[in-house]
Amino acid sequence: MDSLIAACARALATGDALGALKRVALREDPPALALRGIAMAQLGELVRARELLRRAAKGFGAHEARSRARCVVAEAEVALALRDLSGAPRKLLAAAATLEAQGDRANALHALLIAARRSLLLGRLEEAAHTLAQVEARAGQGFSPLLMAVAELSSAELAWRSLRTGAARAALDRAALAAQRAGVPALQAEVAQARAALDAPAARRLIAGGQEAALRLDEVEALLVSPALVVDACRHGLSAGAAWQALARRPILFALALELAKAWPGDVAREALIASAFRTRRPDETHRARLRVEVGRLRALIAPLAGIEASARGFVLRPHAAVDVVVILPPIEGEQASLLALLGDGAAWSTSALALALGASQRTVQRALAELEALGRVRAIGQARARRWLAPPLTGFTTALLLPAAMPFA
């Protein structure tokens, strides 16, 4: 490292991005480009920062694999802050491996965390879980409180999306401690925000007499693991104990299940089932035949969870072992609430899949999504037909641009 690079890194470490820039503003050698990029990122000039970091990465020679890898990591973090998720994670993971091999554990860990956050933002929960497991395996090696806080926030997000509220809460507790030790107010605020989201009503439960009760996420989770047969109109599926049958892609079957559950222990007349599942008020013989077919399909799918019996006027739900039947609805009525409830699983949904699940037209769903997007309640990735919709992340990750300030680019 030469003297101006050292002076620049020293300025960056004290948060003096302008002072850092002043020292290397006119230099075009790779270490200077890298530090200019980081200073620009800290000043919020993310697009310019990414360009500088790319040039720096290209400029480092074959002998300077570590410096190049650090540039790749910094560039990936800037891309993440820009919410540009189009790049392949391969480069980032390769950089992580290089840094690990070179003994730069802190930055290797940093790279893995960026990869995990990227997967979470893309709704690729399995990929995120895999990366976070790699992070966990390195626990205690090169973990600064700052990285620890980010790791725990990511774990919390993953647990939240997988409906493991206990694990999410525990991860948030650890994140809060780490954020406090790191002394970064923005991170502390993110943890507090995530905790509030965890305590917000996540669903409604129908109770006797047409009454409703608000449920928090942990109450939903408790119901889903209870032996009760739960018909979940948030995630569009049925659960009993550990068993889960998704019906998001079978809207007619789900509508039938929902009607049967609402009437339980009573039965539902054929006309009522036809009206709600096929959306028609004038049923004829063909509808009755179709109903028989659909009920047969539903019966086959949910056989491990419950049975469906014919009654004098229609059908009745018969959960195994005669346990309770519970209906869970989105926290509020309406298309938008249903959309949000579906997206609550953290996966990336196409417009057509959402329309299918809700039994609404794509146009209607698109309109609702556009309104939600304007409110910041959903976000889109990809363009045109490749566009996918996701719930906003539990934690923003925007506030803390964690580029290691004094990352030495020797």
Binding site: M1, D2, S3, L4, I5, A6, A7, A9, R10, A13, R23, R27, D29, P31, G61, A62, H63, E64, A65, R66, S67, Q102, G103, A406, P408, A410
Partner: protein, 221 residues
């Protein structure tokens, strides 16, 4: 010209990391204490006990040198001449690399400055900063030092570091000591006896390395 093969450097002792300093940028020796440039401070270390005897608050981003009375320190793009007793800056001259400078040593009335990515060693007048001559190396140059008429410099390219003795008339490499993998040399000074002191860059360490003896040619060490 054939480059001699390298032999492994023998690290005798490690010091640091030092309080609040992630980096060791430069190293010098004043006859009893090792001065290390720690970024925002210059610290004098007792090589026997390893204790920090004195610190001067002074920007110290790269090489450090001692001329018998004064310290010279590269800070940003200048070289400061410092009174080691008062810590006062007596004079500043522009660094020849305008900030690309890394290593610094004093010998026979000249300052010798290593220029990192330029792979150069420059001899300058300590009063005016005027360049007397410059020598090319084929590696990134970090620390530079003179001992017993031998010129040595540290290299740090990527993840590999060496101590090299070179012939300043033609830049030929005469001897190479390879540092262990992942151990960098960011500053270099000989203690006049049988040790080199090497700054360890971002490891924040200072290392003592044994200087090869010349017994074979009957010169003694």
């Amino acid at each position: 010209m054939k480059t001699p093969s390298s032999s492994p450097a023998e690290i005798v002792r490690e010091y640091g990391p030092f309080d609040g300093a992630p980096n060791v940028a430069g190293v010098s020796y004043d006859g009893s204490r090792v001065w290390v440039a720690l970024g925002a401070q210059l610290a004098a270390i007792d090589p026997q006990s390893g204790e920090t005897k004195r610190t001067l608050d002074h920007a110290s981003d790269a090489g450090t040198a001692f001329d018998g009375t004064h310290l010279y320190q590269i800070a940003e793009s200048r070289i400061d001449k410092i009174d080691p007793v008062s810590g006062q800056v007596l004079k500043s001259i522009p660094a020849p690399g305008k900030g690309n400078d890394s290593g610094l040593t004093w010998a026979e009335g000249s300052l010798w400055v290593g220029q990192y990515r330029d792979r150069k060693i420059v001899q300058i007048d300590p009063e005016t900063g005027a360049v007397k001559r410059s020598i090319e190396s084929n590696r990134f140059v970090t620390g530079v030092t003179w001992v017993d008429g031998e010129f040595w410099h540290g290299t740090w390219e990527g993840e590999e570091s060496e101590l090299r003795r070179i012939d300043l008339t033609n830049g030929a490499v005469l001897e190479r000591l390879a540092m262990p993998s992942g151990v960098g040399v960011s500053g270099l000074e000989a203690d006049g006896a049988d040790l080199f002191y090497c700054g360890g860059g971002e490891s924040g360490k200072l290392r003592a390395v044994r200087r090869p003896r010349r017994a074979a040619k009957g010169e003694g060490a």
